[in-house]
């Protein structure tokens, strides 16, 4: 119990520190929302009117920073995240995030789960048949691909599968612009087609890590006595591979997976940027570009909370699964 309280207290403390950083970091950035707006409107409009406009959207540059900070902490907790003062000038931050979140969860979330499952499976088989044909090909290939930069793979994908094929697979956006979002076959098909290249990019670059750890864990586990015992009992190879070795080798991967889920929400900024996929990563890029304080704050907070919750969940799961973690608590 004391352990849980300590974890909870630590969670709150980290959250506060992160929120504080989220408030001050954007304000230490060069530039101001007004300058960004002046630039976007080509300096054609009266700076006084623009300043006035930003003020009516809740931008208060002249207010005492300490007062702003206290207001900000309160607003973050109560869900009053404000209105965008950047590219989507005037749209409530919650609306903007609400529109982008499902796309990121769908794209990056599904792909992360897929990469994890596929990677673990390949790692299991490769570790089981050490030195076999599969082991000789897949792990090295994917280790190399995960060392390649995201955006480079993305550009290559666009070139090969979109440009060279004359646009067979779309290279940008989340669905065909002419369509209305609806539960029709056409719309869902369009969404899936637009997700192919970005998700393939994420899959290719992230699967290697899972394969490698799983394979190595398998090899260690396979040397354990209980595996030999299983063999001695005359169990089938498949039973030993999955029920004896993989089951235990899987545990470290699982906690790694819990952690990586936290990062799903932050999207894959570069992938979303290259494919113009209107998810949270693209939103973050845009908000930084336009010095959009309210949107940046809300996004940073979401990212921090997601990672912190994932870590906390991971901690709790470990306590529940592994008695050794509890012992000293």
């Amino acid at each position: 119990m004391r352990y849980l309280l300590r974890r909870g207290g630590f969670f709150l403390l980290t959250l506060w520190a992160a929120l504080t950083l989220n408030f001050f970091l954007p304000r230490l950035m060069p530039g101001s929302p007004l300058q960004a707006l002046r630039d976007r409107t080509h300096n054609k409009l009266s700076p006084a009117a623009l300043q006035e406009l930003l003020t009516s959207y809740g931008f208060k540059p002249d207010e005492n920073l300490a007062v702003q900070y206290v207001d900000y902490l309160g607003n973050m907790v109560t869900g009053h995240w404000g209105v965008s003062i950047g590219g989507s000038l005037g749209v409530p931050v919650t609306t903007i995030i609400g529109e982008a979140l499902p796309w990121t969860l769908g794209l990056v979330g599904v792909t992360t789960v897929l990469a994890f499952l596929l990677g673990s499976l390949i790692g299991t088989v490769a570790g089981w048949k050490r030195g076999g044909r599969l082991d000789a090909v897949l792990p090295p290939v994917f280790v190399i691909t995960s060392a390649l930069p995201y955006f480079w793979i993305a550009l290559l994908m666009i070139l090969v599968f979109s440009v060279w094929t004359g646009g067979a697979l779309p290279s940008d956006f989340n669905y065909e612009t002419g369509l209305q979002p609806a539960f029709t076959g056409e719309f869902i098909g369009s969404v899936l087609r637009h997700a192919v290249l970005p998700s393939a990019t994420i899959l290719i670059t992230s699967i290697g890590g899972w394969i490698l750890t799983m394979r190595n864990n398998m090899i260690t586990t396979l040397a354990e006595d209980y595996v030999r015992m299983g063999r001695a009992k005359g169990l089938s190879g498949r039973q030993i591979m999955l029920g004896y070795a993989a089951r235990n080798a899987f545990l470290p991967n699982l906690s790694g997976f819990a952690m990586s889920l936290g990062f799903v929400i932050a999207g894959s900024i570069l992938v979303e940027y290259v494919f113009n996929y209107p998810g949270l990563g693209y939103l973050l890029y845009n908000s930084v570009q336009n010095v959009d304080y309210p949107l940046m704050q809300a996004l940073f907070m979401l990212f921090t909370v997601a990672v912190l919750v994932a870590v906390l969940a991971c901690d709790l799961a470990t306590v529940w699964l592994d008695p050794r973690a509890r012992a000293k608590g």
């Binding site: 300096n43 955006f151 113009n276």
Partner: protein, 565 residues
């Protein structure tokens, strides 16, 4: 209109590498024959649909408040209309819109608009003088809606309505502001903006279903696309000819340009690198015509604390050394013309241009020898070069290319130029506050050179170093030039031309900025079905879709060929 970014530029590079058999062909605006222009005059049958590819870098917010500058390019011209349209490309040619006529008093301090009869808002209510008065009064009541500083800067004193007449009275002659208050301000309905939520906060109201007088209505808007349908009760009978407009949200130039090349979108409004192979050669129906409107210039810091750039000889040397035609050819791929030292954009503002003065000042052609001797007079030479840095924006690849050419041209005369690529935010901060030796920058303009030059040169637009200047970033202060600008509003047409020529003289003498290339209105168009586009023969409006309210004029001219049968 977003400039090309790094990643898409890489894609473009990859494309260029992948492209085989590059057949060079001359880039030309493909002149329409005079028959076509006659055919374009109309009237035409209604029908057809046009798709716009104008990159805004974000999904649509589906807000249509004309006072919100982040979104008004999707409402002004489409749904909302001004009193009078002023054409920048045709020597301020005017098209009466919601005002059927107007009259200045002799001193040009007061103007009376006659509001057009028979105009209806798209909810069926009639447009009245009350609406016009309300629009201007709103800007006084809500400073955030006064985007053109009419009540504060232009000296607007009062707005009075009587019958179908509306009188605007100014503290001083206000003719130069006509472009702003008649052409850029759009009229909003009092019965909508004066009631409920809109009345409580007119500047920030979302306005999801805009009620306007314009040729189109929004139906529907999603984050990815705005569809406009023709307003059946539009006040110009038979118009618009085009019945639907699709305006997809493009996050980046790459996909927008792809859609233009494939013909999926017909109306382009951004830079296409390697336009010959990428766009023009793809179809005989693909055309481009990008009229120059303003300058892209090297802005030297004239503050005495910047010892080198505040010296006239240094600026003269730079202005002489740069071969502007080569910068335009190499840096901008020939898609922007070279600028000249007077800052008068050619050929758009030809009548204000004093070619003889440019020649006698020696800026009609590059003169490296003069630059070398000016710099050696200051003790600099290629072996002992003057070190200067120029700030520009990361990702503006055409600017980078232009500056690389400039750097090469300055080296042999004794200037070592360092190009400093900055993130947009940092660049803005340093440009506005004057923290640079040289900056590469382009201003917005207006219907005569007065607007751009006044922004650049008038001392009212500057500020001390460390404080944000409005538009005079080089910090030029000259009472004689200020006096010329202040005389401009009361002068007649010939007098105004004369004043611009005198100001050009100061541009040649003081070299306050060094114009390098002319910034253009990027425009590509496909004629396979849609006709009636603005062209060099018929430049009836600025052609790029981000120009408001010009976009409305273009929409009123477009028609579908297939609908004419």
């Amino acid at each position: 209109m977003r400039r090309t970014k790094l990643v898409p530029a890489l894609v473009a590079l990859a494309l260029a590498l992948a492209a085989t058999a590059c057949s060079p062909s001359k880039q030309q605006p493909t002149p329409d024959s005079s028959e076509d222009i006659a055919a374009d005059m109309g009237p035409h049958k209604q029908g057809g649909s046009v798709t716009i590819a104008n990159v805004t870098g974000q999904t649509w917010t589906c807000q249509f408040n004309p006072f919100n500058p982040a979104v008004n390019q999707t409402s002004n011209g489409f749904v909302y209309e001004p009193l009078v349209f002023v054409n920048l490309l045709q020597d301020q040619a005017e098209t009466p819109m919601l005002a059927s006529s107007y009259e200045w008093n002799a001193e040009k301090t007061s103007i009376v608009f006659t509001v057009r009869d028979g105009v209806k808002w798209n909810d069926g209510q009639p447009l009245t003088a009350d609406d016009v008065v309300f629009t201007f009064e709103l800007m006084k009541k809500e400073p955030a809606t006064d985007l053109y500083a009419l009540w504060t800067g232009a000296g607007l004193q009062s707005v009075k309505g009587e019958g179908n007449k509306v009188t605007l009275s100014f503290a001083q002659a206000a003719q130069p502001y006509f472009f702003n208050f008649a052409n850029q301000v759009v009229i909003v309905p009092k019965h909508v903006f004066g009631a409920g939520e809109a009345a409580a906060s007119p500047a920030t109201w979302a306005n999801p279903n805009p009620v306007g007088t314009g040729p189109f209505k929004v139906d529907p808007c999603t984050a990815n696309n705005i569809q406009y349908v023709a307003n059946p009760s539009y006040w110009q009978p038979g118009k618009p000819y085009i019945q639907k407009v699709q305006y997809p949200a493009y996050l980046d130039n790459g996909p927008a340009n792809q859609d233009l090349a494939s013909g999926k979108a017909q109306w382009g409004s951004q830079f296409i690198p390697g336009i010959e192979n990428f766009y023009l050669n793809k179809s005989p129906d693909n055309h481009t015509w990008s009229p120059p409107v303003t300058n892209v210039a090297l802005i030297p810091n004239l503050d005495p604390s910047h010892a080198a750039t505040s010296k006239l000889e240094v600026r003269q040397a730079i202005a002489s050394a740069i071969d502007r035609a080569r910068v335009a050819e190499i840096g901008e791929g020939g898609q922007q013309p070279a600028a000249n030292q007077t800052g008068v954009v050619l050929p758009t503002f030809q009548k204000y241009y004093d070619g003889a003065a440019v020649a006698s000042a020696g800026y009609d052609k590059p003169d490296a020898a003069r630059a070398t001797s000016l710099l050696s007079g200051l003790g600099y030479s290629p072996s002992n070069p003057l070190k200067l840095s120029v700030i520009t924006v990361t990702g503006y690849t055409d600017w980078d290319a232009s500056l690389a050419v400039i750097k090469q041209q300055l080296a042999p005369v004794g200037i070592e130029l360092t190009v400093v690529d900055l993130a947009q935010q940092t660049y803005n901060e340093r440009l506005f506050k004057g923290d640079f030796d040289l900056a590469y920058y382009g201003q917005a303009g207006g219907p005569t050179p007065y607007y751009e030059l006044r922004q650049i040169l008038h001392s009212a637009n500057t500020a001390p170093l460390g404080t944000e200047a409005t538009t005079n970033f080089e910090r030029y202060k000259n009472p004689a030039v200020d006096a010329l600008f202040d005389k401009y509003p009361t002068a007649d047409d010939a007098g105004q031309v004369q004043i611009i020529k005198e100001i050009s003289g100061f541009m040649l003498r003081d070299v306050p900025i060094i114009p390098v290339t002319e910034s253009v209105d990027w425009f590509q168009y496909n004629t396979s079905d849609i006709r009636g586009w603005p062209s060099p023969q018929n430049p009836y409006a600025q052609p790029a879709a981000f120009n408001i309210p010009d976009v409305g004029q273009v929409l009123l001219h477009l028609y579908s060929k297939s609908a004419q049968k």
